[in-house]
């Protein structure tokens, strides 16, 4: 079926048409418009080239959308109907989009007909008179007065800023009134009414205090890198001062902050694993695994190269001036069991922290939440579609993600149905702007509340929406030192905001007759749909559905998941035998058998080292653990410098995950009869997100070896597919064959591969890297040193052979180095040769390259 229509023009239009059955689309008006742009001089291009570019952009957009759903061919996407409808009536869905989820009802054919007619009249005046010359701005992305409505308008922004700057609750009420006006119908929650107590409620001084409520408040995850240091620290200081929590986001955190009042209480572990070191995790009060992001679910992150200033790169353990991509999935989470493993890893990496999982509001999130609760998470965040990143692609901003009201209600209801509700704290975020928003969120099941855009506004943000360009004139979403000087935010402003929200919430609670937030959680009986909503065909019954009141309705600390950490060999053997030596920092070693049911081996013990001494303080090999047997998953995860684990045997997946300075050695038992260099000894995704340290593997490793490595050194004797994917730093030596797609997305670090068959080029992903021989003296020395260490640690026969005839082997090695990394490295070296110190050279090199670009 081929569709010919004047309407489709944006990526989402085409994706929807394809998804509902079109095989091809002829968007003739879009193409005519391109011709018109050229004719009127707005576009200086050949028409066919322009048309081609447009088509190509649309196609790439569709492929991107399909890939976010996990689909790799257009054939599979076509007719897949992978959409959810928000605001379309059941009738219409059943007739034309059967099978599509549409949870709140909505418009019908008559409404669509009216809108189409109105558009037609505007274009073809019934009288034949001239119509406007040009299309009105819709105001949907950049606000235009009198057009599409926004929550953040000049009024609300100004009033919020003034209220929090001057500490005026009165002004704050004016601000919230703008949003809670009777006729304001921009959100699902605005279509609901609160059922105030007919007897007048309870006196407000009997309601839970502002201080107590504020402990449930959090600021959203905004990475250091996307926002400036000043803005990031301001939020951390503010939230820390009121017992709330700020979120580091996925950009890591500079070590100086970790022991100060600027330490982010929530540390995020996202797919990029930027800066996720042992110290980072140990400093956290809560560790959040970011499964997806509200505004752009299914996508990774992208920090454009202009924003990767040297100090940002340092915190993320990457290279200045090189754009940073977070892959969409976590490469160590391919199933709910993998997620349970990661939760376990992180709990071991900091047993004092509660583990949180960030999910996104969409149909089916309830089931995912149930799985996550069973996996041991203590906090589940349901993130809505508003707000979110300052730099998402437009098709994602408008057409991906759903309101938190839907996801929150579903998660809360599903957890109760499965008897899991009291195990977890449910958190929600997504344009929470008033006390009323928080009240509704609580009534739908939330116990903790995240605010992201609002605190930014109190610090000066005026919603310029140029966050991705590094030109934020308020010094918030920029790294440019000149612009950062303009930053005028103060922690008091954010504190005022939190206090005001809490106070407004108290006012609502008093009127509802509820004294504590715990009592308010899940009270959908205190909400009802507005008459105007029902009149428009909106059906909120699914959201407001009651739950089984015999089941627990909110978190209970007694029901929290028991990780049984006392049963781990870390506690039962390592700490038991070495804890007094550990306290004094005295060297010690221990031997034991391990089996593959011992997961995250060494992590808990490593965390104690970091906690007592720091991740980089003790000399290498201070604590040596000699193991025999099969290593379980996440063997040696996040271990710091000073801890060395040697394993004689083999190992499962995630070997050395997040390595933070420690040393891992893996080799087959002396008695084994096979050739180590020809056999697989370690599972997939080894050294995922490693930041520093060393790993020596006497054998072949599985797929995705060293993915997201940002600083560790590793030597092994062969790898599977996708080796060194998204690597940003460190050194990898492979003394054998690689699988296909080697070095995909690699933007930093260097890999040396022994290419005896001279066919590495066939399996190399050349997009970002170049393939060279090893000729620089420094490189040869580096390579030799690593192979030597490998030989000493593992007694590897292949390594010995190579070292014995090293001169002959050197020409057989290939050096894989990313272009951008090489460029900035050579600029830095040139500046250092002129006498500059390395820090200064890095900064200079960044600005030189930026100018050239």
């Amino acid at each position: 079926m081929i569709l010919e229509s004047a309407e489709p023009r944006e990526v989402h239009h085409f994706a929807a048409l394809l998804g509902y059955g079109a095989c091809a689309v002829n968007p003739y008006l879009a193409q005519e418009t391109i011709r018109d742009l050229i004719d009127t001089g707005m576009l200086d291009k050949d028409f066919y080239a322009a048309e081609d570019d447009y088509n190509s952009a649309i196609l790439h957009g569709i492929v991107k959308i399909a890939s976010k759903m996990g689909i790799s061919t257009i054939q599979s996407y076509q007719g897949s109907k992978l959409f959810e409808a928000v605001g379309i009536s059941e009738e219409l869905i059943d007739r034309y989009f059967s099978g599509t989820v549409s949870r709140i009802g909505g418009i019908g054919l008559a409404d669509i007909s009216r809108r189409t007619e109105a558009l037609h009249t505007a274009a073809f005046d019934p009288l034949g008179l001239k119509t406007r010359d040009g299309i009105s701005s819709s105001g949907s992305h950049k606000l235009r007065s009198g057009k599409s409505e926004h929550l953040y308008t000049p009024e609300t922004i100004h009033l919020l800023q003034e209220a929090t700057r001057t500490g005026s609750y009165e002004l704050f009420k004016k601000y919230t009134q703008c949003l809670t006006r009777e006729d304001s119908e921009m959100t699902l929650r605005s279509l609901m009414e609160l059922c105030f107590d007919e007897n007048g409620g309870v006196p407000i001084d009997e309601v839970e205090s502002v201080e107590s409520i504020c402990r449930r408040f959090k600021t959203g995850a905004m990475s250091y890198g996307s926002i400036s240091q000043e803005a990031h620290e301001c939020m951390a200081m503010a939230m820390n001062s009121i017992g709330g929590r700020s979120n580091s986001g996925e950009g890591g955190e500079s070590p100086e902050r970790l022991k100060s009042d600027k330490c982010s209480a929530i540390k995020q572990v996202a797919s990029g694993r930027f800066g996720v070191t042992s110290e980072y995790l140990v400093s956290a009060n809560e560790i959040q695994i970011k499964m997806a992001q509200g505004a752009k679910p299914g996508e990774g992150g992208h920090l454009p190269s202009e924003k990767v200033y040297p100090w940002i790169a340092k915190t993320r353990h990457s290279t200045a001036g090189v754009g940073l991509i977070s892959p969409p999935p976590h490469h160590d989470i391919y199933s709910i069991e993998d997620l349970a493993q990661l939760i376990f890893d992180l709990k071991n990496a900091n047993h004092k922290a509660r583990i949180s999982v960030k999910l996104v509001s969409e149909a089916g999130v309830g089931t995912v939440a149930a799985g996550v609760a069973k996996a041991g998470a203590q906090v589940i965040l349901i993130s809505g579609y508003d707000g979110g990143t300052g730099a998402a692609p437009k098709s994602s901003i408008y057409n991906a993600g759903l309101p938190w009201e839907l996801g929150l209600a579903e998660a809360h209801q599903t957890l109760i149905q499965n008897g899991l509700r009291s195990r977890v704290v449910i958190e929600t975020d997504g344009k929470l702007m008033t006390g009323r928003d928080v009240a509704v969120a609580a009534m739908l099941g939330a116990e903790e509340f995240g605010f992201a855009t609002a605190p930014l506004v109190t610090m000066g943000c005026v919603m310029m929406r140029v966050c991705n360009l590094d030109t934020c004139p308020m010094g918030i979403a920029t790294q440019n030192p000149e612009l950062r000087k303009r930053f005028k935010g103060k922690p008091e402003y954010i504190v005022n905001f939190m206090h005001f929200i809490a106070q407004e919430l108290r006012e609502y609670m008093a009127k509802l007759g509820v004294r504590t937030v715990d009592e308010l959680v899940g009270r959908t009986d205190l909400l009802r749909p507005k008459k105007s909503a029902s009149a428009e065909g909106i059906d909120l019954s699914q959201i407001l559905a009651g739950t089984d009141q015999t089941q627990k309705q909110h978190f209970n600390p007694e029901d929290v998941f028991d990780f049984e950490l006392d049963k781990t060999p870390d506690r039962s053997v390592l700490l038991k035998k070495m804890s007094s030596a550990l306290k004094k920092g005295e060297a010690r070693s221990v031997s034991l058998n391990v089996s593959n049911t011992d997961r995250s081996f060494g992590t808990l013990f490593g965390a104690e080292i970091t906690r007592l001494h720091g991740e980089n303080a003790l000399p290498e090999d201070t604590y040596t653990v000699n193991c025999q047997g099969s290593g379980g998953q996440s063997f040696g995860a996040f271990i710091p410098k000073g801890l060395t684990i040697k394993l004689s045997g083999d190992c499962n997946d995630y070997f050395g995950k997040g390595l933070s300075g420690g040393k891992l050695v893996l080799f087959p038992p002396k008695s084994s009869g096979f050739k180590a260099e020809e056999n697989i000894i370690a599972g997939n995704v080894a050294l995922y997100g490693a930041t520093s340290g060393k790993a020596f593997i006497n054998g072949i490793a599985g797929e995705r070896f060293c993915v997201r490595n940002s600083g560790a050194s590793a030597v092994c004797e062969g790898v599977g597919d996708h080796g060194c994917e998204y690597m940003t730093g460190g050194r990898v030596v492979i003394l054998g064959r690689t699988g296909k797609n080697f070095a995909a997305g690699m933007s930093g670090g260097i890999a040396y591969v022994l290419d005896e068959e001279r066919d590495l080029y066939m399996r190399l992903n050349k997009a970002l890297v170049s393939l060279e021989t090893v000729c620089e003296k420094a490189d040869v020395l580096e390579l030799k040193a690593l192979i030597t260490e490998h030989a000493e640690a593992t007694s590897s026969e292949k390594a010995k052979r190579i070292l014995d005839s090293f001169e002959e082997y050197v020409p057989k090695f290939k050096k894989i180095i990313p272009h951008d990394y090489a460029k900035i490295r050579s600029t830095v070296l040139a500046l250092e040769e002129k006498g500059m110190d390395s820090n200064q050279a890095e900064i200079e090199a960044f600005f030189i390259n930026k100018k050239e670009a």
């Binding site: 009249t121 019934p126 034949g128 008179l129 000049p154």
Partner: protein, 495 residues
Amino acid sequence: MGKATGFMEYKRTESAAEEPLERIKHFGEFHSPLNEEQRRDQAARCMDCGVPFCQNGKMLCGMISGCPLNNLIPEWNDLLYHGQKEQALKRLLMTNSFPEFTSRVCPALCEKACTCGLNDSPVTVKENERAIVEFGFENGLISPEIPAVRSGKRIAVIGSGPAGLAAADTLNKRGHSVTVYERDDRPGGLLMYGIPNMKLEKSVILRRIELMKAEGVKFVTGANVGLNVSAKQILDSSDALILACGSADPRDIKAEGRDAKGIHFAVDFLKSTTKSLLDNGLEKGDFISAKDKDVVIIGGGDTGNDCVGTAIRHGCKSVTQLEMMPKLPDQRAESNPWPQWPRVCKTDYGQEEAIALFGHDPRLYCTTVKEFLKDDQGDLCGVKTVKLEFITDPETGRKLPREIQGSEETLPCQLCLIAAGFLGAQRYIAEAFGVELDSRNNVMTEKGGFSTNVEKVFTAGDMHIGQSLVVRAIREGRDAAAQVDGWLMGYTNLK
């Protein structure tokens, strides 16, 4: 946006103004525009904000912030930067009927709310607008657009000020037959006779009127509806009628000696100069002249400033401008932050000229006239001024002025101009049509609309909202036209 880094690379540059002592020798406009490249650099400074405060046009803490027309400022700034002036003009004309007027006389609420102005200087939006519209006129892009079809509906517009003109222009383009009635001998209302020529050259107004005539709008001048023309007759022969007569009832200073000869309302003074200038280039001296006189102007606002400039050009001996209120601060007070309208002291062109000519600012603050002194012939020879202080009324909390005892002073004065604002619509027109006035003496309409208690009769502009700005009048005219069009035809494409 202009250029992403434009606001960091370019500083605000305004067009050059002729030196005060030179420009007072004539009554012409005195700004010379920037060249093409400079103009583009200025347009580059626009940041295309996600929330453009410049085009907001809503109340913020009691004062309007941003453009009341919701002009698509970021869009035409961007097009101007890219050299797409034709497209910029199209975008501009989507919301503004008369950019050539606003770009000359508007106090630029847009610039006061510009995000660039928060940490630096605002974008030169007003001058950008002027560059675009003048480019349009110079290149024949603004030419008569005769409607393809006539609706057969007849509309009368009473008053040819900016509100009346905007309504007439808009309704004509919808195919209606519009006739504009103006009591003065030339159309334009306060644009023509209220604002002096050096601020808004009258050829600019005539250019627009000729354009509208070519498009089919009829003008009847010298028609004072309610006095020498029958309101009933016009109403009966129209399908709809819009009252746009302005807020023309001036506030008087009823002090002792008010009957002295030589006291005039500012509007009358300004009108007489402009009329003579147009009739005979001031050759016949048939205007209220300030030559060789000590002039005292009561009122420190824009009109007062226009009087200062005009009096100086007449060759006055001295000029003093009395303002009741205390002097406003030079910078925004902390309680008056961006993007609110800044309550700061503005030194306008007339005051600049007075400073250049006489060596000091002509304004005296917290001062008003207590008594007019006349000589034996009954001519004005001086004014007795008194200082004021403001006391907060304990009941209402409002600040009320009170004369300070013993602060009287006498100033020599042979010409006194009263520029103290307007009190509301003039009664005779309201009575002629039978429309009700509200407590502020403006014509009453339904909330958010323009229809009066009389069927077929609508109102727009100062007559509706009280004395205000040209830009608001244009908005009023356009919105009223949309309501009238919808009411007449059952649908409208004007929204």
